[in-house]
């Protein structure tokens, strides 16, 4: 299992390295080097400038700079944000958590709705309710997340029930822990819903298909022939087999989830990694771009590992080489 | 001597596990004579299918040599090999997979004429004749594989093979996925066609009862080796190796003497002649 995890890490690391090198060099070439930006910025104290020039060997060739940036990463030194005028690490920590909250909320919503719907539709195949679910799913599947988000924001502005952006209310700091939880929940509702709509459509369709396929399997016949109650046949025999393939998909879904989350963070001004990355790209804040990019890869690895561990627990046929 | 195998080996890397090889074919000597049908019998994993594909040159042998009409195909370039290939043809087990689903039966059969100078009319006539010999209507030409039953597809596959005028036709579990009755009809058909087309069969199967009708000689395979080889009647009357005995008693009477199913062989175990062309591994 450990070896498998390492292997997974090794697949994602090369792309992070190559991409970061590419970004590092090209951004410096196209929009000015750190060195110049740093020197020209009157808001940064000379001491700070001195410190970073030494830390990142900014007076040396680009490749040397890249490697010193890379080695500094291992000391959790992410560089300096020109846009925010503070070290990148200070900006980014909370952002990572916020993106995680949004992704998790969307994931829970998607699975919480799609799985029961899929099961229900499969058990009521071709009945009117099933057709309705399939039709709605089709529409949901084609709805662009950003468009859904805009519509939701518009309706929220008309009704005033939900906040129109951000992650906290103004008086967040004065709340107790339960109030804080519900405050975040109210804020996350719109971006998470928008992010989930089309995934729910897709996942529901897959779940329904899997369930129908599993119900036609012979072990279901065996279970019935054993005289098991119908509930047990469906929930203990069919369900697990129908869900397992979905967990496999989950690994690849994380990439999509993070991408979608990034877009919605921007639209709903959710203070996450994606929104940060956009600011960084727009303001050519090089260290921030690099750090955001690397951390998105980090989030992805965590998500994938969780999915793999889950799958290994659920399906005895999966054995990662020991 | 149609085909001659000498010390043929083929090993595969085991899937998933490193440094482990599956010795699919592990030192096989075998001779197939013109007109003498050979039944190659073994259970799943015995290496019989791999052996068939080695003779077909779909795999390259790791060791040993395979001579076809005295010629070693491994020494030929792919350009030299291609025209020779038509001499060994194959009918596979799965009738649903052995015909390209996008080809009409006419297209399937017409492919056999590539490289031959035949007029369209002559081709058409030969295809029709062939379909008739395998017991199908000439209407079949315009239809597609999915419109036929499993047995009919096998007949088409046989027709395609025979249109190539092969010397050797390998039947790789060719009737195993068919219903008993249909299987028996196909066996009868093969028997009838043999005289007409001057072809020799190598029948690969797990079912001793199937080869009994068709083959003059039987070779029993286990763990990548041939463990016994004899004329069909001799083998049925006097099986010498305990595994053959078990196989026979299971196939004919559903009684099983308790013996090991997988045998280990040392490097030196060889086939010993017991007279009258009856060989048993020592």
């Amino acid at each position: 299992m450990l070896r498998y995890i390492l292997r997974r890490l090794l697949t994602i690391l090369p792309i992070l390295l190559v991409m970061s090198l590419l970004t590092f060099i090209l951004m410096q070439k196209t929009s000015g080097s750190f060195y110049d930006t740093l020197k020209l910025n009157p808001q940064i104290s000379p001491e700070t400038i001195e410190r970073y020039i030494k830390l990142y060997q900014l007076d040396k060739p680009l490749l040397v700079q890249y490697f010193s940036w890379l080695t500094n990463l291992f000391h959790f030194e992410f560089g300096y944000s020109f846009f925010y005028n503070i070290p990148v690490a200070d900006v980014i920590g909370g952002r990572l958590w916020n993106t995680f909250v949004l992704s998790l909320a969307s994931l829970i919503l998607t699975w919480g709705v799609a799985i029961p719907l899929g099961i229900y539709a499969a058990l009521h195949r071709n009945k009117i309710t099933d057709r309705l679910i399939q039709f709605t799913s089709y529409i949901a599947l084609a709805s662009p997340t950003f468009f859904v988000a805009m519509l939701l924001l518009y309706f929220a502005s008309q009704s005033g029930i939900l906040p129109l952006g951000g992650m906290h209310s103004a008086n967040y700091d004065g709340m107790n822990i339960i109030e804080k939880f519900f405050d975040v929940l109210r804020h996350v509702a719109i971006p998470a819903t928008a992010l989930s709509i089309s995934s729910i459509g897709a996942l529901q369709r897959i779940m329904r298909g899997n369930m129908l396929e599993v119900l036609g399997q012979q072990y279901i016949l065996t279970a019935r022939a054993k005289g098991l109650p119908e509930n047990r046949v469906i929930y203990s025999h069919a369900l697990r087999n129908a869900i397992n393939p979905l967990v496999t998909i989950l690994g690849y879904e994380f990439a999509g989830l993070l991408s979608g989350a990034a877009l919605l963070e921007i639209i709903c001004s959710w203070p996450g990694l994606g929104a940060l990355m956009l600011t960084a790209v727009q303001s050519k804040d090089i260290y921030l771009v690099m750090a955001s990019f690397l951390l998105s890869g980090f989030l992805l690895i965590i998500g994938n590992l969780l999915a793999d561990v889950l799958l290994a627990r659920l399906d005895p046929r999966i054995r990662y080489e020991k | 001597m149609l085909v001659e195998l000498r010390g043929v080996k083929k090993h595969f890397a085991a899937v998933g596990a490193q440094n482990k090889v599956i010795k699919a074919v592990d030192g096989v000597d075998l001779v197939i004579k013109q007109g003498e049908n050979l039944g190659l019998v073994g259970e799943s994993g015995s290496g019989k299918t791999t052996l068939g594909r080695l003779i077909l040159k779909l795999y390259d042998a790791d060791a040993g040599s395979i001579l076809f009409e005295g010629q070693d195909w491994a020494k030929l370039s792919s350009r030299e090999l291609r025209p020779l290939r038509r001499k060994v043809q194959v009918v596979f087990q799965d009738p649903y997979n052995s015909l390209d689903p996008r080809f009409s039966i006419r297209a399937v059969l017409a492919e056999t004429f590539l490289g031959q100078k035949l007029t369209k009319a002559a081709q058409e006539q030969r295809m029709k004749d062939m379909l008739k010999s395998v017991g199908l209507d000439e209407q079949a030409l315009n239809r597609f594989p999915h419109e036929f039953s499993g047995g009919e597809r096998q007949r088409i596959a046989i027709a395609r093979s025979l249109l190539m005028n092969p010397k050797l036709l390998i039947l790789d579990e060719a009737v195993s996925s068919l219903d008993v009755l249909i299987a028996a009809q196909i066996i009868e058909l093969l028997k009838d066609l043999q005289a007409q087309y001057q072809v020799t069969y190598l029948f690969i199967t797990h079912n001793l009862r199937v080869v009994k009708k068709l083959c003059q000689k039987i070779a029993v395979m286990n763990s990548g080796r041939i463990i016994e080889m004899a004329k069909t009647d001799d083998l049925f009357q006097q099986p010498l190796h305990p595994y053959t005995q078990e196989l026979l008693s299971a196939a004919l009477s559903y009684r099983s003497p308790k013996v090991e199913t997988v045998y280990q062989f040392g490097e030196k175990s060889v086939l010993i002649d017991h007279g009258n062309g009856h060989f048993v591994v020592k």
Partner: protein
Amino acid sequence: MKNRAWSQFCENRWAVAGLIILGIIHAAALFADFLAPYSFSNEERTYSYAPPSKIHFRDEQGSLVPPFVYGAEIKFDEYRRRIYQDKADEKYPLSFFVQGDKYKILGLVPTTIHLFGVKEPGRIYLWGADSRGRDLFSRLLHGARISLSIGILGVAISFSIGLLVGGIAGYYGGKTDDIIMRICEMFMMFPGFYLLLALRAVVPPNFNSIQVYLAIVVILSFIGWASLARVIRGMCLSLREREFVLAAKTMGLSDLRIIIRHILPHTLSYSLIAVMLSIPGYILAESSLSLIGLGIQDPYASWGNLLAEAMGIVQIKFAPWILLPGFFIFITVMCFNVVGDALRDVLDPKTSQ
């Protein structure tokens, strides 16, 4: 075989409708200059957020006259928002094949003829105007050009890469296959949007519009080829072992013939499905990028940057028509999905067996 598939496809009424709609949208994009009364950059700032023009067929007396629109009288409310009212004495008849902005038919023949329009200083806003008083209908048609062509170009490029790379991996197998597949996995596993942003960050700021457009196409293809390559490779790998291919091999057919006649045709129907189902991804990616201001830049129009106007919630209330680009994206994506799914039902041997 082909005909059977086609007639089966035609039985699916949704799919046929989808195909027709896609045809109309693409044709409209192709002839956008002619169909649209204005060019994409023709602006009249006094008409900021002008509502859709009402086309009248009857005059004040109620008698039937050639269609016309009224001129607009602009007032301001207490929040200094524009209020548009018809001027009863200013009528602009709607005419066909009128003179207007210059353009070239299909980029070749210069002309000034537009399908319809009204005489200056009157303006016709079929679906309303944007903040700068540009005609949304015209901009939507021009935007369709960019949005749709990015989808098609992007798929074409990444598909060529995917077919080539997947074919190589599938045909040679072994080590080559291993390495290529590791690379594919890397691309597939990475969150595309972050990759998109990172790549966008390295596009020089001094690029002109066409260069940005091409850069976006290249970036999208660069991210998208991997999943197609993986599928093609998988198919080649399994086809190679199919018994009819083995049989063809024993018949002494050449590798080239086997690949062309027996292997590729089997990947083609899948490829067609994959193309249909992946175009929406490219359209959406371009829209997202343009929506957040990193894609197609004003004054050029794409559905994404048109929708960017709707990011301000206030505007939606007073000019709801600015949401239209969103519906167009939705309809197009929907149609591609419907057609792609129907194609799969018809062509995928797994479901048709």
